[in-house]
Symmetry: C2
Subunit: 578 residues, 2 copies
Amino acid sequence: MSLSRYFPILDWGRRYDHTAFTGDAVAAVIVTIMLIPQSLAYALLAGMPPEAGIYASIAPIILYAIFGTSRALAVGPVAVVSLMTAAAVGNIAESGTAGYVAAALTLAFLSGAMLLALGLFRLGFLANFLSHPVIAGFITASGILIAASQLRHILGIEAEGHTLIEILTSLWAHLGEINLMTVALGVSATAFLFWVRGGLKPLLRRFGLGPRMADIGARTGPVLAIVATTLAVWAFDLGAWGVAIVGEVPQSLPPLTLPSFSPELISQLVVPALLISIIGFVESISVAQTLAANKRQRIDPNQELTGLGAANLAAAFTGGFPVTGGFSRSVVNYDAGAETPAAGVFTALGLALAALFLTPLIHYLPKATLAATIIVAVLSLVDLSILKRAWDFSRADFAAVSVTILLTLIAGVETGVTAGVVTSILVHLYKTSRPHMAVVGRVPGTEHFRNVLRHEVETQPHVLSLRVDESLYFPNARYLEDQLATFAADKPELTDVVLVFAAVNEVDLSALESLEAINARLREAGIRLHLSEVKGPVMDRLKRSHLLDELTGKIFLSQHEAARELDAERKPATAPSD
Amino acid sequence: MSLSRYFPILDWGRRYDHTAFTGDAVAAVIVTIMLIPQSLAYALLAGMPPEAGIYASIAPIILYAIFGTSRALAVGPVAVVSLMTAAAVGNIAESGTAGYVAAALTLAFLSGAMLLALGLFRLGFLANFLSHPVIAGFITASGILIAASQLRHILGIEAEGHTLIEILTSLWAHLGEINLMTVALGVSATAFLFWVRGGLKPLLRRFGLGPRMADIGARTGPVLAIVATTLAVWAFDLGAWGVAIVGEVPQSLPPLTLPSFSPELISQLVVPALLISIIGFVESISVAQTLAANKRQRIDPNQELTGLGAANLAAAFTGGFPVTGGFSRSVVNYDAGAETPAAGVFTALGLALAALFLTPLIHYLPKATLAATIIVAVLSLVDLSILKRAWDFSRADFAAVSVTILLTLIAGVETGVTAGVVTSILVHLYKTSRPHMAVVGRVPGTEHFRNVLRHEVETQPHVLSLRVDESLYFPNARYLEDQLATFAADKPELTDVVLVFAAVNEVDLSALESLEAINARLREAGIRLHLSEVKGPVMDRLKRSHLLDELTGKIFLSQHEAARELDAERKPATAPSD
């Protein structure tokens, strides 16, 4: 029972049957065909040799199948994580060198180890600190960066850089070296792939395919583009015209590799590895939860960390680079009928066969085609509408999303995502440091109390009932003192202040000191301090302090009770003169 | 009117009269006598030449008198800021060198510029992020560090270090070089000063002095110790016995100095300067507010930033080092009858005279005596009871205070205070990421709803009313989804969910997406989602989204109204069978 919690394979494996096998096998064939070009393309994006992309899709898929909880998630290289890999490793070594490949292995190892540690200590909730606007902004900006970085392959020039400015400057500087034959190939491939997105599916349907088959058929577009352009290069010897090709790719199963554990390398990669782990986890879990919700299956976030951690360790020891659950590959897997993670294992087998037998066929594959598949894939991630939605909804969210987009573009992926998280947190802290407070009065005919400025309510002149709309803690403790002084200042007839604690979810030691100070100051002015609607957890806390002993007033269960009792105290004196 | 807001001197200066002058002049004489040993001692602590301590008390006091809002605050070198100066500058240059003095000037300049900038942009609220436990822990740990760092002067040995471990290791290593004559002097001075704290005041009262004069008389203890030990060194030529003395001190008014603006130096000092600014500001404003409260005067935090900023710039250009409002000197100033900041100006005049004429007299002053005055002063700051108070009140506060104390002691002042602030913030974020939620029911006979687990309340089987005890924002958005699923799971008869938003002070874009997802998921299960007690600011926000259009249920003003209406809907069907 508990063992299958940590090894989900024991759960679904026990009930594996013929139906599941058929579904999984069909899905695996389709996914394998789709993954070959995608893996090569993301290896190119990550700055790795093409075969690394295929290796990174074999062992990781198998490990995820054992430890992961999603039935349909397909693990391997994905666009954003490949971009982050290129940014992190590109700072340390030159792409194409042995040092670059070694650093990528170490990055995968660190990322795997961190994911495992996060899972072990049940720290999956940390991913929640990446707010929705930050993720949306980051993915959009990454898509733009990735598309820009691939332009050099379409233009057939050398260019580099990890920020939009660097990339565009470098492209501009090399613009004279443009290769027209490459441009012709690249632009045709891009145009074809854009057409495939919109036009191939209706065409296939007109030829009589069912909607599901037409959908899957449309996803083979990249394979068609690759076959056509590879044949063209081979037939017309376009290599001699300066078209860059993939070239020699070893025919081999994934090799056993050992990441470097040099302390210097590790210290350079530890921050990028953490960011890659968290971004990869967030991307993967969103895909997994979306697919699971459709079939009412359950995803355990902490077990997902274990699954992704194991997959990244597998990548580190088999010549890969950091991986995560990818959106497009998982959706294809799901649509093609995958029933269990066994589909992943079959896909891994298919890719292993490809690595052994098909690599000579891609010798003449032009890099421009791979770049075209990347550009078309990532531009679908770019969605600037999040800026408008955030602006309409709240300035705080807009600040977070715009900082994330801007800094990702001009300062790179690591700075961008970090700045986004930090901005979200700072904006939150700033807002809670100046909480909203409202003087409240009774909504006539009810026991309900509302803001005097927004509702027609009844108040008593000698009682100030102040609703504090925030937990009281150190950033706003002193602010409460100031505000209370302001509210109390222009009420000379005041005898009682009631703080309505309905929205106070916490009181820390700093706020306790402020409450004690307020109580003492009001006592000197001859005013009593009461509290109302104090919630259970806050009351438990206050009971452990001296505030309740020193409090000049009472604690009322409800604000209604407070108002009634403070009113009744007055009544005996004023009733005769009424 | 508005000019006197920025130059408070225009306000009190206009009404300056003979009574105020007498009070100020008397206070100035007493404070001057007390400040001479204190300034020398804190210069020693900061690693600066002794005269720098006096210089740092002259121009800064005058500038603060022009811009500051406190009537009694006395600005100059204080223990904690001097320790932080030694830690920051000690990383850059060797104490006793010209580079050390130059770096201290730059540190004062940066700190002054930052304080002015914080004041200009009205950022005084940033100081609130130093929670009470963090400040208390930091002051206590700094007191221990300072006392430990002065032991070498009492023992007459060379030792160094900026953390407790470094200091104790260094003391241990040099223990063989102990100078017994220095120990005799240092221990006597320390014992005398401890006795003065407790015993001198009653003695003076027995000799017929009034309580206030006895109090002030007791504060001259350090002067007595200095006179006695200086005479002893001079009369018995103790210098020849190896007793370290202050030596040659220039007879001069504060010199005009120019801080270094080397970019390298500035980049090394910018973080320490920020920490010194904020710690200094917090210490100063607490003292100012305590003294002002007694006389019902008002302190403007942002104007205080200007005052302290100007004082630090003055220190930077007149041979000083970072300064702030000190507790003991301000209390003496206040007790001695200071009426206005003019008392500070008179004190500055007194110290200028001392710098011109008295410095030859301190040639034979033993450093051990200065160390003794420091030790006795700072040990009164050490108060470990904050640990117990925090532990009793909340584990979060205890975490913040213990991290601050521990890291200040073992990793130094800058790391300590930063770690304390970061810990407070992280603990807060962690808590808000897993908010308390309570199923609520009606308290019988009222319109008030409370937690079903804590109170005897009435509920309806087909309605789940869930009170969310936290603002909904990105760290807890997904948690709400999970928790709602948990609460709803074991209620098959459920038709309506009411989220009680009384304690929800904010809804951000991530939480909005979660609410939309919850609404959609409940709709699929045939359950309506309602909100109740949504506060004005939150409602304004929700109106700008699509949630209200899509919401399957209603928005109720109060939870009472929600319960009544949902109950009434049922009544027609069930009434006949009742």
